[in-house]
């Protein structure tokens, strides 16, 4: 084969002088992304780029019913079944469950068992080539007996989880309030839409085990699922992360299902099997953000102080539990917004419907409830004729305030700072004043939207909106204590320093920030620190790569491990670590430090009473959005966004900004265009042509302000950044639409249909609320 990878003519090469980052000063600097050159030259190996000679192609037979009995699987006699592998539930050697919080989701529905949702896996096929696989699929027929389905989470009596938080005396406070305002808010499904689809390759091993190479966030979740489902021991199950093209929560739990499927096929075929989803299958079958219905009743004083909140949250879990209890828990804890209120009642439940299971997506329950909280607060401000900025100044949490779980906020409280920084940078009050005048002129002129008498200039209305949010860093409640993560550092006999963690890189920068932190703690150059592959055969279980916990929790463990290693070496050699570690390694051989998580001092949570420190610290975010609304078409153009995010100490400013910018655009998509439509429990827009996300032309100019209120219980003061921007973008955009049009959108997304209906003061033409399924058309 000719060499196609090089150009013949010379071009300018990048040469970066080593040592541009001073040893010990890597944190806060911006070294280039560690795996950046591989990604930029096309040499980075994503799952589908990996070659395994003799590998077969796998495929999943899925249900087309929302709820049914799986009566049988018929194989056409005309097809030569000796050329392919067929796997059903009867072939599963271990337990037929994808192990997670509850053991309710089967790997494959057993024949005779109950199908709980559309696109549920029923059987598996593998073939040596794609043409044979297609022919085999066409020769498989699924027999079912339909059962009545439940699509409305409010009507479902199967409750996955329920929580109640209470403080003070809400009933008495409502009686004493000057004003009481009520509102209902609904949000639908949102797809993570990583650009790399889910992908897994299973390679059987000689010991009867299997090695999985895949696109994934949490190696040890899959490791556990393989052990349970296939009856393997710790060593027989091995999981290796390939380069991963985005996750956003979407590769937290469903990869366990795909890995099990690939492994079952590989085990029976006795050869590697590739299970590479196309976009349609990925959209139709994998988890989405939970739809939610949130009702607020709020009592305020005439000067805008919150004195009572009564909040009801109902989330649609879909057909299986997945991570729903923890999504709901985070949603409930954040439901009041970042505001002091002495009398609070938050009731939250998540129920089962016969729709594909919902799961993790950046923000994990908080974007749903904080959209409701922020939109409701903006409407309260409007009713009291207060500025949205001013009402937040009067209520935002300060040091010493107590949250609904009874957590006293002792340090690292920066809600007011992010609020003021964003409002000032965006000139929020000045713009709002201008729009007030424009709105008054429009209504005073007698022109109405759609009127042919209006001039072109009146057709577009501009608005500016503000939102504020908090986001708990790390696992909720006692989650981190239960995880008991381990991160390790190795100094090899050859003098190489290597980081060993299961924390995955999926674009957010794990492989860059970990070496920064370790290099500083050891006093060596950034380049001297290597990072081992995310392979369960070598790295410890440092927990899942989720919940904005990687920088704060695992980063903190690595610094402690580095401090121990440094002390050990310096005590033995009498010199600095940097000057003596190579010599030490040569004479002492490999040294490995395992650092296990220990609870942060003074942080505790009671799972039974649901009281205590829900999170060790919170990040704080404010967002100001400027929009143009076309009053004739209802189209929204989000023009500018100013995002101020407190993430604790910044480890890498470029990567942190990248997280804020990317999260902000996902929130803009959530606010304006991203919507799953369902019929009879099936996603209708399950292709990229119909499920749309923002392009470069839809994206606003985003100005990021990083605020640093350090978290003192970790040595580097970082709090995490990934999810924070997702909480504020949507309510800011909706507030800006209200500023432009005078109409409040309470259902996401704020689509043209909903905006035109809201302006006209009539119910939306589209009859469906977000997340609802229209009945089957028979």
């Amino acid at each position: 084969m000719p060499d196609l990878t090089t150009r013949t003519e010379p071009a300018r090469a990048l040469v970066i002088e080593p040592g541009t980052i001073t040893p010990g000063r890597a944190r806060g600097a911006a070294p280039f992304r560690r795996e950046g050159p591989d990604k930029l030259t096309g040499t980075a190996k994503y799952t589908d780029d990996l070659v395994f000679p003799g590998a077969w192609f796998g495929s999943t037979i899925r249900s087309t019913d929302a709820h049914a009995r799986f009566a049988g699987l018929d194989l056409d006699d005309g097809f030569d079944w000796s050329t392919v592998i067929v796997v059903t539930a009867a072939d599963i050697p271990g337990e037929n469950v994808v192990s997670l919080i509850k053991a309710d989701q089967p790997i494959l529905v057993a024949i005779g068992g109950e199908i709980q949702h559309h696109a549920e896996p029923l059987a598996l096929l593998a073939a040596p080539d794609r043409a044979t696989l297609r022919a085999a699929r066409a020769a498989v027929h699924v027999r079912t007996e339909p059962l009545p389905a439940v699509f409305d989470p409010l009507a479902s009596d199967h409750v996955f989880a329920a929580y109640e938080l209470a403080s003070g005396d809400p009933d008495a406070a409502f009686a004493a309030a000057d004003v009481v305002l009520e509102g209902e808010y609904r949000v639908g499904h949102q797809e993570q839409l990583y650009i790399e689809n889910n992908a897994m390759i299973a390679v059987p091993s000689a010991d009867g085990g299997v090695t999985i190479h895949g696109s994934l966030q949490c190696p040890y979740y899959i490791h556990a699922a393989l052990k349970t489902g296939l009856g393997l021991d710790d060593r027989q199950a091995r999981v290796v992360q390939a380069e991963t093209g985005g996750g956003f929560g979407g590769k937290e739990e469903y990869p366990s299902m795909i890995a099990l499927h690939a492994a079952l096929l590989a085990g029976k075929a006795k050869r590697p099997v590739r299970m590479i989803y196309d976009r349609h299958e990925d959209l139709a079958a994998t988890t989405k953000r939970h739809p939610a219905i949130v009702r607020h009743r709020t009592g305020v004083t005439r000067d805008g102080r919150l004195i009572a909140q009564d909040i009801e949250v109902v989330m649609d879990g879909g057909a299986y539990c997945t991570l729903t209890p923890v999504v709901l828990s985070r949603g409930a804890i954040h439901a009041g917004g970042p505001y002091r209120c002495p009398n609070v009642r938050i009731r939250a439940r998540a129920t089962r419907t016969n729709t594909p299971p919902n799961g993790a997506f950046r923000g994990f329950g908080a974007p749903q409830t904080e959209f409701a909280a922020e939109t409701h607060l903006n409407r309260i401000a409007e009713a009291l004729e207060l500025s949205p900025l001013e009402i937040r100044r009067r209520n935002v949490y300060q040091v010493g305030d107590t949250t609904p779980t009874g957590q006293v906020l002792r340090t690292s409280v920066a809600g007011e700072e992010v609020l003021e920084r964003a409002a000032e940078a965006a000139e929020f009050e000045r713009l709002r004043g201008r729009h007030d005048a424009a709105r008054a002129q429009r209504s005073g002129s007698g022109t109405v939207p759609g009127s042919p008498l209006r001039t072109g200039r009146e057709r577009v209305a501009s608005g500016v909106g503000l939102a504020l949010a908090w986001h708990g860093a790390g696992f909720t409640g006692s989650g981190e204590v239960r995880l008991a993560s381990v991160a390790s550092l190795e100094l090899t006999g050859e003098g190489e320093i290597s980081i060993l963690t299961a924390s995955t890189e999926m674009g957010q920068g794990t492989k860059t920030i970990f070496p920064q932190l370790v290099a500083d703690a050891l006093g060596v150059s950034y380049e001297a620190v290597q990072i081992a592959p995310q392979d369960t055969a070598f790295v410890p279980d440092s927990g899942p790569t989720v919940a904005s916990r990687t920088a704060m929790v695992v980063g903190g463990l690595l610094i402690k491990a580095a401090q121990r290693l440094r002390t050990q070496v310096e005590a033995a050699t009498g010199g600095t670590f940097a000057a003596t570690y190579r010599e030490y390694a040569r004479s002492n051989g490999t040294v490995r430090i395992d650092q296990r998580f220990e609870p942060y001092p003074g942080v505790g949570f009671d799972d039974v009473t649901y009281r205590g420190d829900a999170y060790p610290a919170f990040g704080w975010a404010a967002c100001v959005a400027a929009v143009d609304v076309d009053l004739d078409t209802g189209e929204v153009h989000v023009r500018d966004i100013v995002a101020a995010d407190d993430i604790g100490r910044v480890i890498h400013p470029v990567l942190a900004e990248g997280q804020v910018e990317g999260g902000t655009l996902q929130a803009v998509g959530y606010a304006t265009i991203e919507e799953i439509k369902l019929r009879d429990g099936r996603y209708l827009n399950d292709r990229l042509a119909t499920y749309i996300i923002p392009t470069s032309l839809d994206a606003p100019r985003i100005t990021t302000i990083l605020v640093e209120a350090p978290f003192d219980a970790v040595p580097h003061g970082a709090k995490g950044v990934g999810e924070l921007p997702m909480d504020v973008g949507a309510p800011a955009v909706v507030a800006a639409i209200a500023d432009a049009t005078g109409a409040w959108i309470t259902d996401l997304p704020a689509s043209p249909e909903r905006i035109l209906a809201a302006i006209a003061g009539v119910p939306a033409v589209a009859p469906l609320r977000p997340g609802a399924s229209e009945p089957a058309r028979r």
Binding site: A11, V529, G658
Partner: protein, 175 residues
Amino acid sequence: MTTYHFTVNRTPVELDVPGMRRLLDVLREDLALTGTKEGCGEGECGACTVLLDGAPVDSCLVPICQVDGASVATVEGLAPAAAGIAGVGVSTATALGPLQTAFLETGGAQCGICTPGMLMAGQAYIDAGGGLDDAAIRDAIAGNLCRCTGYTKIVEAIARTAGTVAADPRPGGPS
């Protein structure tokens, strides 16, 4: 099957494949150039963007019969063959071209899966003499979806390159 002749990154290729085979599959599977990615297979995401006679196309929508006699440029041809890169903490035998360098400096690549296609769309814009105008750059990459960056740093990387590179020879253009 018919024999098709074309160039990939200026190297001549002769291939016997069915005429309707997707250019994307020819690149990834027949020529082992896996730098070009598949994101949707229906021309929506732009991850598979390559340059066909200098113009950006979705290689998932181009049958190989349309490539006969043409020149194809992929991400693998963007970098000059040169010495390693210091300063990123890894040894690699690959150097970077100007646009790739700008992506590395600005943070224009995060998960990296849209990056090869984004680079090719950006390169086509620069090759066509595109300037620093934000709206024009956004228009040039409007067919390439990115879910990580919010596009901010990608636009910055292309602008930075457009501002400093004067008439770099087309990587896929006729020699």
